[in-house]
């Protein structure tokens, strides 16, 4: 890790404006975005010599309810520190998350997601409740 930092130098990794890696919850894997101290619900827990960070009490509770399930899990931050993922945020997005310039900012599926398909039954309920078939039910 020290060698990687030395090779990267300032302005390349870690210290460059906008490219410093962001941190992730060790349970839900979402970016920690609590921001200011008073409203920041992030908390750390040490278990079996390893320090975990969670975005909130619920994520900590889920983890502590079944810690053995997550014991072998390697977090994004863990991978960065182990040299298995780039520390440069832009490279992390490109490589680790597979975001390439020809697809980012675009909807690669053109909105055709299976989970968006409205079933016939749902459309029927909408019609019965007074909405247009397939339309949004009144509420």
């Amino acid at each position: 890790m020290a060698e990687r930092q030395r090779q990267a130098g300032p302005k390349v990794e870690w210290y460059t404006h906008g490219t410093t890696p962001v941190t992730f919850c060790d349970l839900c894997q979402l970016v920690l975005c609590g921001g200011t101290p008073r409203e920041n619900t992030a908390r750390t827990v040490v278990r079996d010599g390893r320090r975990y960070i969670f975005c909130s009490a619920p994520c900590q509770w889920i983890f502590e309810s079944e810690p053995e399930r997550y014991a072998a899990h390697e977090s994004v931050v863990g991978r960065i520190l182990a040299g298995k993922a780039p520390a440069n945020l832009l490279e992390l997005l490109r490589q680790y998350f597979g975001l390439q310039q020809d697809v980012w900012g675009k909807d690669a599926a053109r909105g055709e997601y299976p989970w968006l398909a409205r079933s016939e039954a749902t459309a029927h309920v909408g019609a019965v409740l007074g909405g247009e078939p397939g339309g949004k039910p009144p509420c």
């Binding site: 890790m1 020290a2 930092q5 870690w14 210290y15 404006h17 906008g18 410093t20 890696p21 962001v22 941190t23 970016v31 920690l32 975005c33 609590g34 921001g35 200011t36 101290p37 008073r38 920041n40 992030a42 908390r43 750390t44 320090r51 960070i53 931050v77 960065i80 520190l81 520390a87």
Partner: protein
């Protein structure tokens, strides 16, 4: 020895993974974190760093302050009253 830390800057939208040496001072850690967040948070002339709600002395080293790998630290920028950005708020760490 390098120490990775989860750093949160008041006014920022994300936590940042910063690397410091255990021999670095809290003042140097402050500069690293302020620089890393500078693209989103206007750098303040001074800042306070907190560990678990406890303010860390700027002259302490990272090791001396008891910071170990992947701990959470909070940074609260401090502005002179006359220069305070409109969207900044005063709050204690913790």
């Amino acid at each position: 020895m390098l120490v990775p830390l989860h750093g949160f800057v008041q006014g920022d939208t994300v936590g940042l993974l910063v690397l410091v040496h255990d021999t670095d001072t809290i003042a140097q850690l402050t500069r690293v974190l302020v620089d890393a967040a500078a693209v989103r948070v206007l750098p303040a002339p001074a800042a306070r760093v907190y560990l678990g709600g406890r303010e860390l002395e700027p002259s302490l080293t990272v090791a001396g302050a008891g910071l170990s790998a992947l701990e959470r630290i909070d940074l609260v920028p401090e502005w002179p009253a006359a220069d305070q950005p409109a969207d900044s708020r005063t709050e204690a760490g913790g």
